[in-house]
Subunit: 345 residues, 2 copies
Amino acid sequence: MSRAAVRLVDVAEQAGVSLATASRVLNSSRPYGVRADLRARVLEAAEQLGYEPNHHARALAGSASMTIGLVVHDVRDAYFALVAGAVVSAAEEHGLFVTIVNTYRDPEQETKYLRLLRAQRPRAIIVAGSGFRGEAAEPILAELKQFEASGGVVVALGTQHAGHSIDVGNHDGARRLAHSLCDLGHREFAVVTGSAAMNTVADRVEGFRQGLSERGVELGESAVHYGEPTRETGRQAAERFAAARAAGAQVPTCVFGTFDLIAAGLVGGLTQAGIVVPDQVSVAGFGDVPPAADMTPALTTVRLPLEDIGRRAVELALLTEGDRQLVTVEPEVLLRQSTAAPRER
Amino acid sequence: MSRAAVRLVDVAEQAGVSLATASRVLNSSRPYGVRADLRARVLEAAEQLGYEPNHHARALAGSASMTIGLVVHDVRDAYFALVAGAVVSAAEEHGLFVTIVNTYRDPEQETKYLRLLRAQRPRAIIVAGSGFRGEAAEPILAELKQFEASGGVVVALGTQHAGHSIDVGNHDGARRLAHSLCDLGHREFAVVTGSAAMNTVADRVEGFRQGLSERGVELGESAVHYGEPTRETGRQAAERFAAARAAGAQVPTCVFGTFDLIAAGLVGGLTQAGIVVPDQVSVAGFGDVPPAADMTPALTTVRLPLEDIGRRAVELALLTEGDRQLVTVEPEVLLRQSTAAPRER
DNA sequence: CTGAAAGCGCTTACAG
DNA sequence: CTGAAAGCGCTTACAG
């Protein structure tokens, strides 16, 4: 119960061996390093003293860092919470720790925290944010490159910043969803989505458009409504649809909210306006965030295999050499009660 | 673009000053430490080289660690995601990083990760789990004490393991909820909750019981149903109530699910069994987890001021001396559509 | 197989 | 105000 933490010297002393020997035992490097009796004495001493090696010293002395940096927009967001959970679980299996930073969808914050993260000298940085396009992405990319240049590994989810990347299935998932909806009989669609500057948004919209196109349906640019990835955006869009409908305008039979939250807002807004989902309009989301299955009606959506993604991300993070990898995963379309065949008119 | 990261010597060299001087400038300690021109040169060199100090070296050399350990049951859980988000935000404001570990509601895991966390030498450990009672808690407590003995600070949420603690309001929130429900006219209650071994459960049940008692209503032990904090537990309980009701048994007019998820299951199960909420039975939850407000009917629940809790936790984590603190926060009862005055019989 | 010693990148008394 | 030097707790060639 001394004021300071137990050090390796303390262990070595108690075991009656040199520092080097104690270190070798505790690092379980090669199997035949240390004589059995010495090994036993060291282990016992460590156990007895409750010794826990100082990671800082370890990292400084050259052994690989035990931490992984995880960059998300906000852990409070269900999607990122699931990603974070998967990464933390996978990391724990490898004895690694995960340090989380929130960037709040702000490129400047992202750059700043990436830089601060470098100071921690994590073994790898996993960028789970949706990334940005164009100019905003440049300083971020620069930070990532510098991290790589100093020996760190970068894993990007859903985008190809730098380093390894995992295609989480935004494009492919939206494409498959489009197929399913067309197969249900829909031909007139609208899309309500987040900011065009986000990769996630662009990927989902493009994937959806491609999927429709493969079924012979064109999605015009005017059918895509950009906003924030929030319930409110969905609700407002719903009100506009309802108004247009009341005014006798031609209205889509199916609306795709590219985030479950948007879709939830759409369902709420339409219902409130007296439009029955899915009888009059079908609504689909993306993400399969927990409440999606429990909404009324249960939300048709796309599930990304987040657990799988987390595991793969950590595996890539552990790679010490070799070429950049590009991993793909299989998204899954979940047809539930918020979509149905369109009514004849 | 050398292979290794930029070091302080590199900066000092480029600025033409000694290591010590460079260090002083970059640590912005006392304002009048270094001559202005030297200071400027150091700053410029650092900027130019993209220097970011090595935290490991810093920590080893004696400056306070920049990381906080956060122990949760599972970040995927909405409650913990919100807590984690709040802690990460607050930490970022102080330039600190948060390392998250998941314990999966398992005392052994918790002990293990607490121990591994010690190796990271974080400045503080915030234990956000609901904690355990009795024997299971002992090794956890021992780890925490050892961490404190070696100079770390411990902050416990919702329980008083060791170190500072924040009473997150489980007891008080449930107590206030009981008042509100009694004021609505209810006199017959049932409680559906998680495992009795969890502090959260015990606190909420006890608080609820006390609140009722203060309104002259007694809650018998047989009216409390223990299970898991899941939707399924709620659903099953609902089925039992429905069966009892169909059999003509006396049934409570109001059921309190001590977790929103349980309450959601209760509402779902009751509705499915043809019992209308709140007309026939009122249901209340606890937590105000995001979907709560958007359920149909919207769920009456208790909101804990998680943002506030996160901020206070980080403040306590930063305390370097002084007595243990016990912080209290103000939970809020949110009366929504899932509760109403009981129907006369 | 084992130990003495150098070195990782910083900070901080201690001299000047 | 500034610099040379010791030391933080480890790991790892290098000798033995």
